[in-house]
């Protein structure tokens, strides 16, 4: 069995604030194999971005602090590396792209200067060679006329173009792992489709691994091989993309799936998850999802008083199972190759607490038709509208 490229074990991150120590990431473990796309899904404040920044040791210290855990990249613990060695990992072995490209592009330097800086720093090549590599990088991400673009400034480009430039810059040093933090959230659907297809193509060509951080279930379903669902600082469910969408085990995952309207599905009313995502300063005790959880409420209904407690959640009070309000559940392998952290997931009490490791590749990749150039006769592009 091949070794994972990246293995994160029991990562804990804290932030010192005037309200005490906040812990936005707790006991997070996951692994990424070569060529794999692993998704980290969750809503705002769940800890997914802090997790990714901690891998590259980019959280501001202080107030942030890694409280414990390991980040093994090709066998080396990144958390123990000297800052100087870490600098050669960042950008070279592991690169990162963000939701807002202007966070990683400097407005007062040309695109060329910025890519060349990264290339000369990591690859030790001459200025001329670096410019050639930069031009090729822009070409690889589908930017027309790359030579001219090198001398342009970020403000002269559209949002989709900047996103491509940022990807070109991130990939110019051929990283083994790309961390993509909400890479398409700020983009329109047609541009999102372009960027996702570009990432898939680059991954195919280079065998790069991707850590995909997003809240968009559609993007996850169509791109990930393995999915980790995060809620309030913890991973609450891990499975292959097929298993997760076919038979979600955690009530939060289930709730997310049901509350999103789907194209072409007729539903009179959307199912909702009541309440709001908790703030890291006010995480509830026990299972962090219990104040919002429909499963524990349903179970608590017929149970006797010794097994239930009443909690105040959002704008209402609810009866929940005592165990949910008191004990925080950990990830158990509730089905073969499928982990969930819920006291009332099937088999939970008996299931083993193995460490999730899934060297899996998705079964179906969406068929894509590129409509940029001429479309050859017989291509089934627009059949349905011309009949």
């Amino acid at each position: 069995m091949p070794l994972p490229l990246l293995q994160v074990s029991n990562l804990n991150v804290g932030f010192e604030t005037n309200r005490g120590l906040l812990r936005p990431v707790r006991d997070v473990s996951f692994s990424i194999y070569p060529g794999q796309t692993v998704a980290l899904v969750g809503e705002s404040g769940c800890g997914k971005s802090v997790t990714s920044l901690s891998i590259l040791r980019l959280i501001p210290e202080p107030p942030g602090k890694v409280l414990g855990g390991q980040v093994l990249f090709e066998g080396r613990d990144l958390l123990k590396l000297h800052e100087r060695d870490m600098r050669s990992v960042r950008g070279k072995d592991i690169a990162m792209i963000f939701q807002e490209p202007m966070t990683s592009l400097n407005p007062v330097y040309t695109i060329g200067d910025q890519i060349v800086e990264a290339v000369t720093l990591h690859q030790g090549v001459s200025q001329d060679q670096a410019y050639r590599i930069a031009e090729e990088a822009l070409h690889d991400v589908g930017i027309a006329d790359p030579h001219r673009r090198l001398s342009e400034y970020p403000h002269q480009m559209s949002g989709g173009m900047r996103q491509r430039v940022m990807i070109a810059m991130a990939l110019s040093c051929r990283p083994k792992l790309l961390i993509a933090d909400e890479p398409t959230t700020a983009l329109d659907v047609t541009i999102q489709a372009q960027i996702l297809e570009l990432l898939r193509k680059l991954q195919r060509d280079r065998g790069m691994s991707i850590l995909l951080i997003t809240h968009d279930l559609g993007v996850v379903a169509e791109n990930a091989d393995v999915v980790n669902v995060m809620y309030a600082s913890r991973i609450v469910e891990v499975a292959t993309v097929e298993d997760l969408f076919d038979k979600p085990q955690h009530p939060y995952t289930e709730g997310l799936f049901r509350s999103v309207p789907k194209l072409g599905h007729e539903a009179e009313r959307l199912l909702t998850i009541s309440g709001t995502v908790p703030n890291p300063a006010k995480f509830p005790a026990g299972c962090k999802f219990h104040p919002r959880c429909p499963r524990t409420r349903e179970l608590a209904g017929p149970r006797g008083a010794e097994e239930v407690v009443t909690v105040r959640a959002a704008e209402e009070t609810a009866k929940v199972m005592k165990v949910c309000a008191q004990d925080e559940p950990l990830l158990h392998e509730v089905q073969s190759q499928h982990w969930a952290a819920c006291h009332f997931a099937e088999n939970y009490p008996k299931a083993p607490t193995t460490v999730p490791q899934l060297d899996h590749r998705r079964q179906v990749i969406a068929e894509v038709i590129d409509a940029s150039g001429d479309i050859p006769l017989g291509t089934p592009v627009m059949q349905e509208i011309i009949e």
Binding site: E43, S44, I143, A144, D145, S158, G160, M161, D188, V189, T190, I191, Q192, A193, Q194, E197, H215, L217, G218, A221, E222, N223, V241, F245, D246, F257, S259, V260, P261, K262, L263, G264, E266, A267, R269, L270, L271, T272, I273, T276, V277, E315, Q363, V364, A366, E367, V368, I369, A371, S372, G373, D374, I375, P380, V381, M382, E384, I385, I386, E387
Partner: protein, 372 residues
């Protein structure tokens, strides 16, 4: 809870429920005809007008009482400008808006203020659309005072009832916006819009800034309010699945114009315009075994200050490329776009297609030379 509210707030339209159950009958609530909004581009020291950004360029539609028209399109297509021009938050360049049969653009002064009570807006960003220095009670109560509907205790009672109706505790009236989460702030924005018992609300991307699990709460709330009070919505959004779920009718905009309009289900099942087809194909499905073919359009939405000739979609259109492959060279022309060379139909480059009825359900219109 909700009974108490309608008792207090529905001071002038007790028959709201009746309106909701009588769709399509009689005059539309809102008739928008050939609406245009152009913004001048000024250049030089004399600020000479050097051209126009045609943000909205000839848009027409009707909205029936108690119904929802969804307006979708990518950023820069003009959908937000349509919503704001209808409410006269942006002065129109041309066209007309009739509200209950009367020319809304002709109203002035007192009359305008009167009618504006009926037309409200909910914004995308619940942070910037609430004044941080005002308490929630003042934010929601201000329109009641300005329009002379209630003051003092009566006003406070109405504010409490409105808060309760949108799912917030009435005691929150004394708090400030920063004390609330994004979803709660959006509820406050909705309560403010409801204060004057409007029968039309422009919802401009009301859920796109919210977390997934909160979006459905807000959509359900808007849905309930429509059923209860017969409010008509212009629902502006870029999320196609949300628009399909929420709307009775959907219009797709591209570069300042409507390119296709149909009943929501019809549009999604039987799209006619190549842009709509590509847009629908580009939405990632929450399904790990995606069935549909994804059409990746080249390039981006062009600038409305310098739109392409003919059909504005032709530089990105897969259909005109496919038609060109089947046609003789005399009917086609080579264009360069987004770094690629492609052969397209001359007609698409030369003439702008009208929005006309296509095969399919009645009322299904699309602007394309080559769809049936």
């Amino acid at each position: 809870m909700s009974d108490g509210v309608s008792g207090v707030v529905a001071y002038e339209r007790p028959a709201a429920g009746a309106m909701a159950s009588a769709p399509d009958a009689g005059t539309p609530l809102l008739e928008v005809r050939d609406l245009t909004t152009w913004f001048p581009i000024r250049r030089g020291i004399l600020s000479r007008t050097a051209g126009f950004v045609k943000a909205v360029d000839g848009v027409s539609f009707d909205i029936q009482p108690g119904k929802t028209l969804g307006l979708v399109g990518e950023s820069g297509c003009g959908k937000t400008t349509v919503g704001r021009t209808i409410l006269r938050l942006i002065p129109p360049t041309g066209g007309s808006v009739r509200y209950k049969g009367e020319d809304f653009f002709a109203f002035q002064g007192r009359q305008l203020r009167q009618i504006r009570r009926q037309m409200q807006i909910v914004f995308q960003d619940p942070v910037s659309s609430l004044n941080p220095r005002m308490t929630v009670g003042n934010i929601i109560g201000e329109p009641l005072e300005v329009h002379g509907i209630a003051r003092g205790t009566a006003k406070n009672e109405m504010v409490g009832a409105l808060l309760a109706r949108v799912g917030l505790d009435p005691s929150y009236a004394s708090r400030y916006p920063h004390e609330f989460s994004g979803g709660q702030r959006q509820r406050i924005g909705i309560a403010r819009a409801l204060a004057l018992s409007p029968d039309f609300i422009v919802c401009d991307e009301p859920v796109s800034a919210l977390d997934v699990s909160i979006q459905s709460q807000i959509l359900n709330l808007l849905d309930d309010l429509q059923k209860e009070r017969g409010i008509a919505y212009l629902f502006i959004a870029h999320n196609l699945a949300v628009v399909e779920h929420f709307s009775d009718e959907v219009a797709v905009m591209y570069l300042g114009r409507i390119v296709e309009k149909a009943a929501a289900r019809e549009l999604y099942r039987n799209p006619k315009h190549p842009y709509t087809v590509a847009l629908l194909s580009a939405v990632p499905e929450p399904n790990p075994r995606p069935k549909k073919r994804r059409i990746v359009l080249p390039g981006e939405v062009p600038s409305p200050s310098n739109p392409p000739t003919g059909c504005a979609f032709h530089p990105r259109c897969p259909l005109t490329r496919q038609k060109a492959a089947e046609s003789s060279d005399a009917d086609t022309i080579q264009i360069q776009t987004a770094g690629h060379v492609a052969r397209v139909m001359c007609k698409c480059v030369q003439e702008s297609p009208p929005l006309e009825t296509k095969q399919g359900a009645p009322g299904h219109v699309a602007a394309c030379w080559f769809t049936q």
